[in-house]
Amino acid sequence: MTMRSEALTMTKDGRLSAMKARFFGPTARQKLLAFASLVLLLIFFSFASPVFMQIDNILGILQSTAVNGVLAIACTFVIITGGIDLSVGTLMTFCAVMAGVFLTYWELPMWIGVVAAIATGALSGVVSGTLIAKMKIPPFIATLGMMMLLKGLSLVVSGTRPIYFNNTENFPMISQDSLIGLALPNLPIPNAVLILFALAALASVVLNRTALGRYTFALGSNEEAVRLSGVNVDRWKIAIYGLGGSICGVAGLLIASRLNSAQPALGQGYELEAIAAVVIGGTSLSGGAGTILGTIIGAFIMSVLTNGLRILSVAQEWQTVVTGVIIILAVYADILRRRKV
């Protein structure tokens, strides 16, 4: 059983990455080296615990990566511009709460809730972007302020209690059911994971093949030069933060669907995890460089690490210590790799 599922996972991973390599732009091959840390972790935990590579646990890891992965994708755009977004966690929550308001309080159809969550995210992103682009407030502070603002608003709007999606029967499906499982009953990969990968592919296309992506890199490289080239820098910046916000809306839907509720107090602290995933994935905090594939790998490094330490029943305080050390080492590995290449 263990052997079979192990093999299964490996080929899946192999195929996936091959697809991604073709998909995620020309520097992808080089970036695949970022797998090294991930593979090392996987190997270590497989040897350390027979449970780790079992299909159930792998599915658990995949599921637990979804939310952080999506948030990390949102952060990737912003970080490539040389900015930062500390509000992603609480924005996710606020979007979930807004979905709850539309679906549970107002009893509207599910698709409206989905649209509302994403629109809320986009709107909040546009506000952050405007603060940054028009009012010249440093991204760190603008999004820190937004983080607090949204945290408060989530509590206000929800009346400080969770909103349950009892009226919307299909809501949990968004994240928990498995479309793949219908076709391959042995591989009930939850939809959340599909959404993560679909979003990653989409984000990769946007980043590498559209004007928005081009300006994302350009702004991070030299904003003044872009401005002097006659590009409407402010508008693009706002658009990028808006895009990031709408991706947070997707994260909000995923987490709400997974918990079948909007938990208004949740969210703070998630931003650091997302940013860590982005940087572990090789995106530079000083802007101008980064890939979605790297981010996804970074998110997996984080969740594999967390899961593995749990599986080994490492004492929780030591888990924190180890996670801190591994984050540093993973980024260091990435730095060494780039120095060599």
Binding site: V51, Q54, D56, N57, G60, Q63, S64, V67, L155, T160, R161, P162, Y164, P172, Q176, I255, R258, L259, N260, S261, Q263, P264, A265, L266, G267, Q268, G269, T306, N307, R310, I311, S313, Q316
Partner: protein, 288 residues
């Protein structure tokens, strides 16, 4: 093979949870079982708790102890446990479902109600009172707050709650909140701190402000015990966290042996103050 029972709690850094852990470890030792104990950093992190539950289920444990942050969110995983015939023992607050074989719990609402009665008694059943709670959205926070507020409203109409604020169980923040409350309400007669950090922080705030007022705490802890002995704190409610921990593991072991369990096991709560703190029955449930 050893029997393995993971406990997924609501937290791990607070003394309360550490005491639950200690109780569970004690019972596990007696019953020749192995346990692990894990909980998210804050009681808001519902999804992290679900991840923990998921990882623990993957270990194919013999039984599971679970203190749900949001019981509805955990139901799919609990169903999975049921399908795999893993007995689930709920603790602290109940899981809204009939999957858990039993729940080791205290009635937080009633316990906070008792705190309200004591407070009213000590301030002469009239006057202004403030409440410092550790969390605005978690079950324990809500229950303790509402238990206190409802009891006052129902039984002590002359006692006015002038402020309810939340300090995340952080001693420093709770101390600042207490000072601000005292400052803003010069006639304040009492403060209720709804968990260890809130109560101990409030004690610091009261001391720094130099005022004398009735301070009632919740949970136990070295500082709180000393404050009660010294008179800085009038008294406190304690649950029996060590008992809760023991109850979880013992119930799980019983379930594995096929014994039938009652739907709820009340581990009880106690009022303690200067007069009864050394009483062996009370001393047994205190911890630090």
């Amino acid at each position: 093979d050893d029997i393995y029972i993971p406990l997924i709690s609501k937290g791990f850094q607070h003394q309360f949870w550490q005491a639950v852990k200690a109780g569970a470890e004690q019972a596990a030792k007696e019953g020749n079982a192995k346990i692990s104990f894990e909980g998210p950093e804050t009681e808001a992190m519902v999804d992290k708790q679900i991840d923990m539950l998921s990882a623990d289920l993957a270990k194919h444990p013999n039984a599971i102890g679970f203190a749900a942050l949001d019981s509805k969110a955990a139901i799919p995983l609990l169903k999975k446990a049921q399908a795999e015939h893993i007995p689930v023992i709920a603790f602290d607050s109940g899981v809204d479902s009939d999957i858990p074989l039993t729940t080791c719990t205290t009635d937080n609402l009633a316990a906070a109600g008792l705190a309200a009665d004591k407070m009213a008694e000590m301030i002469g059943d009239a006057g202004e009172v403030a409440v410092i709670v550790h969390d605005q959205t978690s079950r324990t926070g809500i229950d303790r707050r509402d238990g206190f507020l409802n009891e006052m409203k129902a039984k002590h109409p002359n006692v006015k709650i002038v402020s309810v604020q939340y300090g995340a169980g952080d001693h420093l923040k709770s101390a600042e909140i207490a000072k601000a409350m005292i400052q803003a309400n010069p006639n304040l007669k009492g403060i209720f701190g709804a968990n260890e950090g809130s109560a101990e922080g409030a004690a610091i705030g009261v001391k720094e402000s130099g005022k004398k007022l009735v301070l009632i705490g919740y949970d136990s802890g070295k500082e709180q015990k000393e404050a009660i002995i010294s008179g800085a704190m009038a008294g406190a409610i304690t649950q029996n966290p060590v008992g809760i921990g023991k109850c979880v593991v013992e119930s799980a072991l019983k379930a594995l042996k096929g014994e039938k369990l009652p739907k709820v096991i009340d581990t009880g709560f106690y009022w303690y103050d200067k007069s009864n703190i050394t009483d062996p029955k009370v001393a047994a449930v205190l911890y630090d």
